[in-house]
Each structure stands twice: as structure tokens, then as C-alpha cells.
Symmetry: C2
Subunit: 433 residues, 2 copies
């Protein structure tokens, strides 16, 4: 991990110290439990359960990869209105594990639903029968290795026994830690807002780009709210807000077979149910959801493997949002740009190169580029007061802002990424040594 990262996390986001995370506490209708199933052959937590005693409305977005892990196939196949449990394991992605991997999902869903139904009978006045289809899964870790069904199964009773009906910050952090792979710290975030006169909570956890053994950068993000919102509206809110948050980050341009962002709503806040995305009462929730997703997405980037700098790329005044996005990602994914920034080099030529290769038509005479507040290129020409020393000085910051004004439209898009350091190569090349 780059030596600057903790400073920059301290200055820009949070201390890496647990005590300074946001104060997530109890969210009505949700219970959390995490244990070690010894998947890493250690006693670190590697299994987390989110249990909704009265079920939750939900929506998910999944990886764009054409190859899907078996848990994502399972999730896509369940046609249900309510989810009762989300079970997440780390260490094994259940990807490229074929029919056997899928059957493990079936077996675990059968097992979990049976146990939770028993728990309902013990705990609830009006016990529900929980079915296999009410259980969904998040998996991350090695691909192509046999899924450790038995190890996980044997810990389900413990996991359910550990369920507490009241949550606090440490339970959230413990769960967020249980889903980590090579992440260096858990990622949690929260907002509160109102729907009508009802105060509601939006809590979230995520894991980022960890790559060890034959696996890759899986992103998992889970949002929980006590608001009452229909599945349809949750889906629309999630899709919309993922666009400029989790879909606006890039660590190395690679995509996992397991990526998954979900939102669950328990309805316990008892606002009047939101059934339409056009309902004006959803506005504040919409904005707060975006904040939580962006907060988590930025933490994923900031904790990217080997990252020493957090890079924000603002593309302004493009003809379409898609053009702005293409330019932003072309810059964010360029190894030449990312290595230059790691080297604290104000190498604006590489920004030009990345803009040029983005396939977007550019009118050079309208193009302007800034590093932070420093104008580098002004309407197609090097700025007459450009000062390389000043620019080099700016590049020493731990947070780098690049803005590219295309000047031929009105659409903007912001992309978040990290630099490429020797540490990135170390982590990804040397796992055997």
C-alpha cells in the first residue's frame, strides 16, 4: 500500500482508524451476523449474513461481464417479491465452477431457508415460511476453485445463532470486514433523509478491488434502508444512481464475473410506500442514496491496490454524456496517464493522447485542460502563463483533479480512479512469492 494513502484517507475521507467511521447503528428490520468458516485457513471472518425478519424489497445490478459467476446466475433466477437473507462469502468467487457451483447455491439456499424458518417459529408472533428463492448470495475471491459448500454449510447454524436484533457500528464494521479480500480496510457509509415527514436511514457497505490467486477485482456494494419503497422504484433508483457512482470508478479497467450492487428496503420507517419514481417525496432519498453510493465508490478507488493518489477526472461540456464518459474513462484507464501521476509528473501530453484515442470527435481549438485550478491548455493552446514548476508542485498532492473542457456541448461526467504504482505490480505479479 502506497505510503501516502493513509494520509490522504485521513485528509479526504476518514481516518483508517475504526473509531472515525460514520456512526451506522440500528436499522429496523435488518439483522447482521458474521463468522469465520475458515475459508482462508485462518480465523478471520469470511461469511456475513444479512437477515430481514419480515423480508425486504430489493433490487440488484450485476456485472457487465459475459461470463457470470454461479451466485449471480442463482440470484437472477429467483423470481420473488421479498428477500429474507443475503449471504456473502469471501475467498471463493463460485465462478467457473459449473453445475456443481450452481447446485451449491441451491443447497445453501435450501439450508439457510430451512434454518431461518425454524428461527421464525421460535422468535416471531406471526412466523413466515422462508423459501430458497428468498435467499440471494454475494461471492468474491478465487475463481475456478471448487466452491467450499460444506465448510460454509457447517457454519450456517453458528451464523444464525449469532444474529442480534439490534445493530451497532461495530457489527457493521465487522460485517464489512468479513467481505474483504485484499482490501486494506472495511468500507461503510450512511446518510439520513426524509420521505415526507418520515426520517429514514440509508446504510451501505462495500468491498473493492482485491486480486489474489486466480481471481480479480470484484466490487460488491450493499445498501440497506428502512424506507418503504417498491421493488420497481428501488430498481430505477439503483440503476440511475449507480451510473455516476460505481459505474464512474475505474481501478484498472478490468471487470469481474461477480460484481454486484444491491439495495434492500425493510419498510420499517413506515413512510407511505413509494410506488413511482416520479413521486416528488423521493427526491431527498434519491440524492442521499447517491451520496452513500458515491462515498462507498470513492472508498473502493482510494483503497485500490497500490494506490498512492486519488484521481478525479471531470469532463465538461461534451456533446453527450456518453462522449464525456468515453473521454473520462480513456484518461482513467490509460496506463501512461496513471504511471505519470504516480511519478508526480504533470504530463499533460498523455492526457491529450488519451482524449485523442477515446474515439470522440474533438475540436482542438475549444479544448481546455486544468490540473486543480491551474490552467494547462486553454482553447487548444498551451496556456501562456503555464508554469511547469507550479504544475509539478500540484502533482505532489495526494488528491489530483483533472478537468477537461471539451467545449462543444453541455454534458458533463466525472470519473474517479487511482494511480498505477510499482506496488500495484508487486501485488498483482508476485502473489506466489
Amino acid at each position: 500500500m502506497g505510503i501516502n494513502l493513509s494520509n490522504f484517507l485521513a485528509s479526504k475521507f476518514q481516518s483508517r482508524k475504526m473509531g472515525q467511521f460514520q456512526d451506522l447503528d440500528h436499522l429496523d428490520g435488518l439483522s447482521i451476523s458474521s463468522v469465520s468458516a475458515n475459508l482462508y485457513n485462518s480465523n478471520r471472518d469470511d461469511l456475513a449474513m444479512f437477515y430481514f425478519r419480515d423480508g425486504a424489497n430489493f433490487a440488484s445490478v450485476y456485472t457487465q461481464s459475459k461470463i457470470l459467476s454461479e451466485n449471480i446466475k442463482w440470484n437472477l433466477n429467483q423470481k420473488t417479491q421479498k428477500i429474507y437473507s443475503l449471504l456473502i462469502n469471501t475467498r471463493n468467487a463460485n465462478s467457473f465452477t459449473g453445475e456443481q457451483g450452481y447446485r451449491s447455491m441451491q443447497h445453501l439456499a435450501d439450508f439457510v431457508s430451512k434454518y431461518l424458518t425454524e428461527k421464525q417459529k421460535e422468535d416471531e408472533d406471526d412466523p413466515k415460511i422462508i423459501k430458497s428463492k428468498n435467499i440471494i448470495f454475494g461471492c468474491t475471491g478465487t475463481i475456478g476453485e471448487k466452491f467450499p459448500e460444506e465448510k460454509i454449510k457447517s457454519k450456517i447454524p453458528d451464523l444464525i445463532k449469532n444474529i442480534k436484533y439490534t445493530q451497532n457500528k461495530y457489527i457493521w464494521i465487522k460485517a464489512a470486514s468479513a467481505i474483504m479480500t485484499t482490501d486494506t480496510e472495511p468500507k461503510i457509509a450512511m446518510e439520513e433523509c426524509k420521505i415526507g415527514n418520515t426520517l429514514v436511514k440509508i446504510y451501505g457497505i462495500a468491498k473493492g478491488s482485491g486480486m489474489i490467486q486466480p481471481n480479480m477485482a470484484t466490487t460488491l456494494g450493499y445498501i440497506f434502508t428502512d424506507a418503504d419503497i417498491s421493488n420497481d422504484v428501488l430498481k430505477k433508483l439503483l440503476k440511475k444512481n449507480v451510473e455516476n457512482t460505481f459505474n464512474a470508478i475505474s481501478c484498472d479497467g478490468d471487470t469481474s464475473t461477480n460484481d454486484m450492487i444491491s439495495i434492500f428496503s425493510t419498510g420499517k420507517a413506515r413512510n407511505s410506500l413509494i410506488k413511482s419514481i416520479a413521486d416528488k417525496k423521493i427526491k431527498s432519498f434519491d440524492e442521499s442514496l447517491n451520496k452513500v453510493l458515491l462515498n462507498l465508490a470513492k472508498r473502493v478507488v482510494a483503497d485500490g491496490e497500490g494506490a498512492s493518489k486519488f484521481i478525479t477526472i471531470n469532463v465538461l461540456n461534451a456533446k453527450t454524456e456518453n462522449d464525456a464518459k468515453k473521454i473520462g474513462f480513456s484518461i482513467a484507464n490509460s496506463p501512461l496517464v496513471k504511471t505519470a501521476i504516480a511519478g508526480e509528473d504533470p504530463n499533460w501530453g498523455r492526457i491529450i493522447m488519451a482524449i485523442g484515442k477515446s474515439s470522440v470527435e474533438i475540436n482542438l481549438s475549444k479544448l481546455s485542460i486544468k490540473f486543480g485550478d491551474l490552467i494547462i491548455v486553454n482553447k487548444g493552446k498551451i496556456y501562456n502563463q503555464y508554469n511547469e514548476t507550479e504544475a509539478a508542485n500540484y502533482m505532489k498532492s495526494s488528491a489530483i483533479n483533472i478537468s477537461v473542457d471539451v467545449g462543444n456541448g453541455k454534458k458533463n461526467f466525472t470519473v474517479y480512479t487511482m494511480d498505477f504504482t510499482k506496488e500495484y505490480i508487486n501485488i498483482n505479479a508476485d502473489y506466489r512469492s
Copy 2:
């Protein structure tokens, strides 16, 4: 430069020692000259002139970038049937230099054509008047710096004075060295073949991916032949053969504003002029041209910054060639794949990931993957005799062959690339230190 590279060049291509390059010698109708214009503030050659005393037919393909360097704009604007000189400078890309950069091309073309017209009067029985439009340029190096017109201009008389009408291998190597940036060795290649009963030569030089100061990986490739071929046929041959050679290589997925591959034919071999691409007499030339381009393209990859391994990715039995290409480049450009290979890790999970994110529809049950001759994945399943130790052993090779059989069509494409080493980051991050 990775320590394995010389071994691997020695075993796969050529010794890095000059003596073992192919024996390019005289090519009738072409003269070569190279000098130092002190562009690097050193006495290394940085200026090369290729002079065609009776003109040459020609064709060029240029960068796909939406931002073009000024020399490429100049070249595109010249409407002429014959080229008399190609002038190449290194150190300054004449990119993002605006009207001033373009005017420098005009000035240099005026100057060179005037001098060469004088030379014609001195040397030729039937002297031609050479015009500015008969001169084209190759530029590589820093972008956004003022083009050093005066420094170059002052050396044109020397350059022309040094022209020798008979070439030998050392003149070729000297010229190929003059166009290098951070390349570690010159790149030359040759083939001979017949058109009808006439023996013809195809000679070529190239430079690869060098990135210092605010510039990027410019690829230049220049092919010279004494065959007599029309401009139209040259264009078709070049476009076709660039597809699976220079367009099949990737060092870091970045693209320069200056990329340029050209072919020049002097006609001095006196074969009967080839006017149609359908002419069967061109078959052997077509194949030989492909060999020369592929030979040069492979040298560019092998000399990629920090490269320690040469990687060949064969994508087989895809539905379309474009599908095969997309999969090949998705693997070749994945930082996770490239770092795994640098780490000698048989990380086939990352190959799966890269196939998945290529956006090509995949039928997993038909997918097979091999590393060299070792079967890794067989029809969607890990091969039952897969042996990780054996695979890890294979990854120690300096030349890595990955083959991906998609199994849903008949189209193939091969991509060539290199690994991502710490040395790559060093070269690209630390240029100021």
C-alpha cells in the same frame, strides 16, 4: 529493460548485437542519410532522410487518434502521385503545436525540395523539379513543445550532402537508430520475393513504444521496395497487411497522435507494373510484405518498455474476426493479465475475466484455453489433468503462448503483446528523477 529480454531476443528473433541483423543492402532508387541535429542536446542521430531520386509510388496509414500531429496533417494534405523524400525527426512529435507546427512542415518541405532540386541538377541527366508536396514527414517525441524548425533546417544541407547512392546494412541500421526514442535497439527487417520472374526486395525499419517527457508510444514503420506497384495497389496491400501485423500488437493499449506506417516503391526492379490487387503475380509479394511487417511489429512489442516476456494470444474459432480481435485485445490490454504474466503466475482466472469483459457472447461449454501445449480449460471446465506446477513451470518461458478456442465459429485472430513489469512503471513514472 527486463533482464530476460536479451535472452529472449537472442532465442526468438535476433541477437541484440548489430552483426546479426538481417542483411539489408542496396535498394535501387532509394538513398538514405542520417545526421544529428542536436535535438537531444547530444550527438546521437535524430534526423533521417529517405530520398527517391526518381520519385516513388507510396501509400500510408495513420493513427486512429482523433487528435493528429501536424506532420500527419501535412502528409494527408499533399495530393501527389510521387514522393521524393521522407524526412523523419525524433525528440519532438510536432503534436499540439498548432499553426506554427504546421507552418514548420511547410517551411521544411519548401527548403528540402529546393535543395533536392539543386541536387537533381547536379547529379541527374534528366533532372526533375521537386516540389514541396513531394516531401512527407515522420515525427516522434515530446508533444506540445515548440517544433525545432531552425535546428532541423540548419542540418538539411549536411543531410543532403551525406546522401550516398549505394546503401548497406550499416546505413540501414544507422537510419533505424536515428528514429528511435526510448527504443533500446533499432528495428530492421527484409524479405525477397518474385513478381513474375523479377526478383524484388522488401526492406523495412520501425520504431516502437518509447515514452519520455510529455509524449507517448509512437509507432513508426517504413517499408521500401524496388518493385513497381501503383499507388492504389500499394494502399490496398498496406491496409490489408497492417491489420494482422501492426494493428495486432499492443504494448499498453495507448495510441499516439503520430502513428504512421508507409510503403514506398521505386519501381527499379522493372517488373511489369502491378495495377490491380487481383493480379495473381502479387501473391508472393503480398505474403512477403506481411512477413516484413510482422517481423517489425514483433520487434516493437519485444522492445516494449520494461518488457520481460513476449506474449502471443491466439483466439480461435470465433464467430467473426472482429469477435476474435476483441477477445484478443481484451486479454492483451488487461493490466491484471499482464502483471500475472510478469509474475510468472499461470493465472487463468484473469484470462477468463478478460474474455468475459470483451463484450463478445461466449458459450462457456465450448470454451477451451491452452498455455503453450498445456490444456488449462477444456470445453468450459478445468481440464481434468490440469497440473498447476506444470503450468507455473511453463510461465517461466520468455515467450508465452496463450490460445483461446471460443468454439462457436471459424474465425481466428492473433494478438502480440508484452508483460507489465515494475520496470514499465519505473520508465513511465520516474522520468523526472
